[in-house]
């Protein structure tokens, strides 16, 4: 597989972000993963967005990896998928919002907030989006410590 374009892209990102990157890898053709620290998260994304003129954020994934939660916005640039990854501690899950530079992130950040309890500083409205109204407010279903509780039938069959 020819990954010339991806390699060039990676070197451009490296040049731009310098030592802020803790890890960068090419997952496959047209998909790049960039790991940054949580405090550099917004700055580095802003640099990339401004350099390449990115407007499209495909989605944002949150993943529980033990002690930390990985926040992963997936940006699109000319067919290339750039996935940033920043780990926030589970006990103080907080990170800057991207909604001011990428307004499309509004729904995705609300979803991550609902399901993993990551607080996005500066988000305009973090009301419930996907989970039900009667869901307890401190339970986050996609965290690993949440064990699935099947809903109780309300009438006998």
């Amino acid at each position: 597989m020819n990954l010339e374009r991806e390699e060039r892209f990676v070197s451009e990102i490296k040049e731009l972000l310098g030592d802020k990157i803790s890890e960068i890898k090419v997952q496959r053709a047209r998909s790049v993963f960039v790991t940054v620290k949580a405090e550099d998260y917004k700055d580095s994304i802003r640099k990339i967005v401004e350099k390449f003129g990115i407007t499209h954020i495909s989605t944002m994934t949150g993943a529980d990896s033990g002690q930390t939660i990985d926040v992963m916005p997936h940006l699109s640039h000319a067919g290339m998928k750039i996935t940033f990854k920043a780990a926030v501690p589970k006990t103080a899950a907080e990170i800057d919002t991207l909604t001011d530079m990428l307004p499309g992130a509004v729904m995705y950040e609300r979803e991550v907030h609902d399901l993993l309890g990551v607080n996005f500083k500066g988000h305009p409205n973090l009301a419930k989006l996907v989970i039900s109204d009667d869901w307890p407010s401190d339970v986050y279903p996609l965290r690993k410590e949440y064990k699935v509780v099947r809903p109780e039938p309300i009438r006998k069959t």
Partner: protein, 394 residues
Amino acid sequence: MPEFSVIVGPQHPALKEPESFTFWVDGEDVVRAEVRIGYAHRGIEKAAESRTYIQNIPLIERICGICNVAHTICYTQNVEYLYGREIPRRAEYIRTIIEELNRIHSHLLWIGIAGHEIGFDTLLMYVWRDREVVMDLIEEMTGNRVSTALMTVGGVTRDITPELATRIRKGLDILEERTKYYEKIASGESTILARTKGIGILTREEALKHCAVGPTLRASGIKSDIRADDPYAAHDEVPFDVITTDTCDLFGRVVVRVYETIEAIRQVRYCLDNLPSGPVRIRLPNTPPRGESVSRVEAPRGEDIHYVRSDGTDRPARYKVRAPTLGNLASLVEMLTSKGDYRVRVADIPIVLAGIDPCMCCMDRTSRFIEPSKGKEWVWTWNQLRKYGRMRER
């Protein structure tokens, strides 16, 4: 003039699925719209973590019944990326064929539903009659009309015999003739023109800003299609045109979908003519290596993106799905807001809603209370409301 709020959904004749919209109206004009989804939240992502990669295929297929092929292709190729293996070329072609047949069925379905929403039921009935042709083709190919269950990790489960290919070609001829007729109707019938031109406007800048996807984005004049930008399956070989219009309104969305149907028919023909020989699946071990992967597919409604993380066991550590409709929600809210000269009337709500081809599940009549005069808004559950009702009776 005081503003009123109109609540549409979760059970509403214009919506086939439960989702709830709150519209603040000033006379006939919608001034603000808000959406509450989550009625169809079933917990698939959590369930995927407790099932094996094989068990997950039917689960992922049932994220959406209409674009089930897009989701299963996205899932299986995502897992194949984890293995770092390529599947046989014939399997990729079969995936493309079924994907495009699925797109034909989805777009024809949408044209019918759009006709229904603007009060043109004749179109609904005729389109759905002709759609049965493609449903029969899908059924012959996969054994079920809607859920295909054709994908598996490492290829596809069923092959295409030459007789089946002949039958598909015959069916495509009928479909092509009929779609061309509907193209004429969609672009020349005064009912459709009156209800779609200048309605549901999403300008190029807004579409980019709110990250719209799929036909909604292409109708705003932006050439973006995952099949061309990030080719998967056999799309790197199958020639096709990315259809765009610059009308930025509902009419553009109708036109884009009709032409995409014709384009899809052409792609299926190409695939059938150039179907490589060979096996249709390879056997892969049950546990993929550690790693993570992102895969993208152009579903009938737009970009579908899945993320998988494997921790070296036979179950995924995290599986994330973003279906195209969520990407279009922010733009939908934008389309439903009157700005300056652009007015959204209450009567246009159903067709604008249908315009993005929503694929979710919603209705919130019981729980949200709004008093715009006091700027107060609160949420009650149905049980709380029932209690309140009993309290008032006493």
